[in-house]
Symmetry: C2
DNA sequence: CGCGACATGTAAGCCGTTACATGATTGC
DNA sequence: GCAATCATGTAACGGCTTACATGTCGCG
């Protein structure tokens, strides 16, 4: 359960409830475990059992009862040790590649349609992300250096989608030219 | 089980055995289901049961027995229908982002070390991929247009890792400058 | 009064990976 | 004879998602 380290990483910046963390994961876009919650609550129980975080019960009267988790010195130690392990390389899936593998079944117009729709889809996603970014909500906790790093973290999905858009645009150009150059 | 469509996509280009497909998935790098085989064999059974591919038993005497799968007209029809569904956007995981979220625990030298090691790791991966690409093995079946598309498919992981490398390089520069500009 | 956000959890199931099990053929 | 590759499968485990279940609070 690798999500524990991500939770500890969040808790190293501030204290959160399970609900907070679930939302952070759901909104993150760049992190694994999108919109889960089963794992978050289960992992929190385990983290607390191991003494890596303490719980502060916040009484009702000012909202629904919540459990605020705060990282302990033991938790910080575990996190620091984990930080010295090398991070894995990016892990990615491009579902469109499977479509493209079979795209010989499509005529030129159909392929153009597929790629065009995909590019449009990407553009919409990008617009949504940029919108979120603009009126975000950027976590400003931590040092100056850490704020720059948060910016890089938030930028990462944007740069990925931009790269994907460029890749598709280029591919569209390539297949359009191939079509012009030769008869099939 | 989405892997069926990927298998059908491969089979639309040529006939393969389960072993062939397993290797194609393992070597692909850009496709999901890296180095599996459980799923491939299971999916092939299902595909055959549904009449989407036929089996040709190749007798021993010229090697170990193998089952060569060939896509049927029904399989082509299913594949063509699936092709008209919109492909999902890329799905990503950048494990290093979790490290970075907690990186405020590291001093400047340690962070530099983390990023430097990561960049080195990326460079090695890139070199390996380029090596594979050079003496590949590029599937030359299909039309001229399709050959260009195969090139794009094979290039995709390369461009991704290159983009990641650039992203890290930029981040290193940013944190190095932040360090110079202010005391902490 | 109903809806949406807040809040915490549980259950079921798929998907994917690792490891196991078996056996033939080729080359050193 | 041994290791590597070809070849086909099965078993077990864990991670992740979807859906379910329950309850509070504030707002229109």
């Amino acid at each position: 359960m690798d999500i524990s380290h991500a939770i500890l990483a969040f808790l190293s910046a501030a204290s959160f409830s399970g609900y907070d963390l679930k939302k952070l994961f759901a909104e993150s876009e760049s992190l694994p475990w999108a919109g889960n919650n089963n794992q978050v609550y289960a992992a929190l129980v385990k983290i607390h059992r191991e003494g890596l975080a303490s719980i502060e019960f916040q009484q009702p009267g000012e909202g629904p009862a919540r459990k605020l988790y705060t990282i302990t010195p033991a938790g910080l130690k575990v996190l620091r040790e984990w930080l010295s392990t090398e991070p894995d390389l990016p892990h990615i899936r491009f579902p469109i590649l499977i479509h493209l593998m079979a795209s010989d079944l499509l005529d030129d117009a159909e392929l153009e349609g597929l790629l065009g729709d995909y590019e449009e889809h990407l553009r919409l996603k990008l617009a949504g992300l940029q919108e979120l970014q603009r009126r975000g909500k950027r976590p400003s906790f931590g040092s100056e250096r850490q704020r720059l790093i948060w910016q890089a973290i938030n930028d990462r999905p944007l740069t990925l989608y931009r790269a994907e858009e460029e890749w598709v645009r280029n591919l569209r150009w390539v297949v359009a030219n191939a079509h012009r150059k030769e008869k099939r």
